[in-house]
Subunit: 282 residues, 3 copies
């Protein structure tokens, strides 16, 4: 990464995030999720809290048509049963036909063969965005055998080149989650420093962010905002709400509850005040 | 609806609800749920909190026999995998043979073909009660293509005739959830004004009510209470607990937690004091 | 049971539990869970809270290889879909080949034929530990038709002989959960009096303990601790955290939240101070 974003660009992003948040709340995007069995309830609650309209439609014969009418789609590969794998392919075909933006979350790919094969098949369909931890992004780029289950064993910096390469190859935005979130479209790159360690102590802390990205991509589509901004906006809103929640928590249980309360209450002004963004070009 | 319930009838309902709540807690009804993957945990926790004994038995080869020994059964079509669809049919057959009361919750039917077909097949088996939002009830009555995913796009009043028609045709109680809950057996109709908007910001806010109805129908069967009263009692207890929870919440996360606490603590006296019921005949 | 443990033995167990807890937090054991749809999220959150690394890998083609690299494995039969049943057998084969310790939780076996048959098939593969309520342990030993769904209808004492018999026959540790937890390897027996009634009002209160046992067995393997001590240590940590949580709760909802906070905060010193253990030989 060669240049810092000019300070005013970082301010622009925070402004855009606040505006998108208000757009989303005014017209809740129907957010279609095919996600893993561990986090379905929490993901739906995160979407409801921030102001979106979740719908978990993950069976064959319904997923395709529903992706066609949804505002945004998430495909998360955390517990990919045969039915979900077929539904995911059907949904992506429906989204592609209708232009519905969609997010791929390649959970724990690398060593696990079923989901790894499916992730490669899906990324070929050109998702709007890919979200993962550093190990998952390296594995999707073919540069690593992946992490240890759902835990990243690589750092965000180690995945920066892989992220940019994936973004260019598939024409998508790639978001690498970690202590610093990296978001790139292959030309520009943003680094977001907001967030809290407690997000890693709640199951679905990362998975639910993928769903929020799908919701923000839905809101962005309605306003003509670009995908890099939408994905970064989702990350900012989510991680700033997490910071607010951490201040009111005494452990991972109360943090998860406070995160939902914070997502419902966080304002555009909060985003502008708290955003810690740095960016540049490759 | 032509007549108001005489005031003493509304008081009777609140009294009956309080008595049924105590009956349920004294002898927890085994409540068999075949429900969607998003809300299974929350639904089980709601049943445990109010005092029932939940059991999520949703596989072929077990669902039928279990429905035969359960006190009440819920069939919720939120994420109907092929295994669950077969298990639902098996369970309904078992319930029918044994006289186990059962509730059908036709989540998001209308535009989605798999669940819509199954919902029509199941309602033909004459559930004890049907619970849905206005769009789902209209769709089940064949009068609408349904809502936008799980969200109602129609009002409770718009679904009142459809609800009464369904109730008469299938000999069941129909409950239309909304800001005002309408509950009818085709002859009598009750309107319950209790509840709180935060119920719509928690996933499973409606789905769990269907399970509570199945539990109350189980308790009612043991005491010879009619199904209309049991369904209305479940709604009253649930929505009054929601009002108590909302007073102790600062957002959707803390509301869901407080709802479980309130369901465990709400008393017969609370129900009588807080019930807002209106009724009449068609 | 003929003899009391000498007091110093009970102190030894509490000491060992505290040490294992610190070992686990220093090197989080990758804990592979194939568990039921009702409690997946809560189970993962319990594992994250206590300091372990959960991974819910429950599909055919991945479960076997993953069990081979995991530190511990849980097989819970709460909602055993055909895919999960095949994945469970695959995982147990992988665990057996690699020496990964594993826990069998035979949820609601007895009257329900599919899971009962699978539980008998799995116990023949010699799990490291079996956890269940008294009715489930009696049913697994072939001495009862099981409880009423997930509820025990038998007491821990009634299951003591069945537990010891199972332990000797399959060379495993058997843990019977109840107001008093009984843990035996067929020669020694421990009775733990910690815990709180609210654990029975939260879905997954028992299921998540099975996962914690798998995590502690993983930590124990790294330190050469025996399985009886590891299983008892998991129970002590979990039930003492539950006591701490109950003191900060006003019902089952806030208790579940406080339990996660307490699991993250409970210390080795807390365990030593609060443990209520009694033991002996058969």
């Amino acid at each position: 990464m060669s240049d810092r974003l000019r300070p005013e660009s970082a301010i622009d992003l925070a402004d855009s995030a606040g505006i998108l948040l208000e757009v989303l709340r005014d017209a809740p995007p129907l957010t279609h999720c095919i996600t893993n069995a561990v986090v379905t309830g929490f993901t739906a609650n995160v979407l409801l809290a921030v102001g979106a309209a979740p719908a978990m439609v993950d069976i064959v014969g319904e997923a395709g048509m529903f992706a066609g009418v949804a505002s945004g789609l998430l495909i998360n590969l955390g517990t990919p049963t045969p039915e979900q794998r077929a539904a995911a392919l059907e949904a992506v075909a429906g989204a592609t036909t209708s232009g519905t933006p969609w997010v791929l979350d390649p959970v724990a790919i690398g060593a696990l063969p079923v989901r790894t094969g499916l992730a490669h098949e899906l990324v070929d369909q050109r998702p709007t965005a890919v979200r993962g931890n550093a190990s998952e992004i390296l594995a999707l780029a073919g540069l690593s055998a992946g992490g240890r289950g759902v835990d990243a064993t690589d750092t965000t910096d180690a995945a920066a080149d892989a992220a940019a390469s994936l973004a260019r190859r598939f024409g998508c935005v790639v978001a690498v989650s970690g202590p610093i979130d990296l978001i790139t479209d292959g030309e520009r790159a943003l680094r977001l420093a907001n967030g809290h360690e407690l997000l890693t102590r709640v199951t679905g802390g990362g998975c639910a962010l993928g769903a929020v990205m799908a919701a923000f991509l839905g809101a962005a589509r309605a306003t003509g905002t670009d995908a890099l901004t939408a994905v970064a906006a989702a990350s900012l809103v989510y991680t700033i709400a997490a910071e607010q929640a951490a201040r009111r928590s005494s452990g991972p249980g109360s943090f998860a509850v406070a995160l939902l309360d914070a997502l419902a209450a966080v304002s555009a002004e909060d985003i502008v005040a708290a955003a810690r963004v740095e960016g540049g070009t490759w």
